[in-house]
Symmetry: C2
Subunit: 108 residues, 2 copies
Amino acid sequence: MPTAATPKPPYYAVVFTSQRSEGDRGYASVARRMEELAAGQPGFLGIESARGPDGFGITVSYWTSEEAIAGWKANAEHAAAQEAGRSTWYSSFAIRVARVERAYGSAR
Amino acid sequence: MPTAATPKPPYYAVVFTSQRSEGDRGYASVARRMEELAAGQPGFLGIESARGPDGFGITVSYWTSEEAIAGWKANAEHAAAQEAGRSTWYSSFAIRVARVERAYGSAR
């Protein structure tokens, strides 16, 4: 997954960290579907995701505004996935909503 | 790596995304050392990191203030590692500094 091509700050980030429980149990296909679904939401700017062999993962999605984040959280198909995440896919998770103040980087 | 036990917001997050180039070339040991070093910096609150089999990784470090982030960036040993990252370890990277406004989560 490449680094997301986000605009000049300010914008918003949702940092979602999670520890996967054992077994797929439908996780992989729903995770892919959620990335597609997020990308079609109003105010979506980009998404980045990484998960290590220990099952600990970080997904950061970027949004134009807090309103856009609220809209994504309330999406019905996403809400069903959130419930499956809480009950089945994750042994723990944390969500942090943050305002990106500045950004820089490099590619070679 | 567990989810970082951060305090009640507001606080700051540095979201560092990177694509590793081929070969270790000293990366793993310096990455471990940087996590230790960050943890000893004034204003450090926690760190989370994940890297997938494609070499794309996300590290989020949490800090009390922008001043704490500036202090960490300026740390001499860290500055040397940043230079090696730019020249050798990463084919691309992005750094975003964000103010965490709210946070929630769950463990079971």
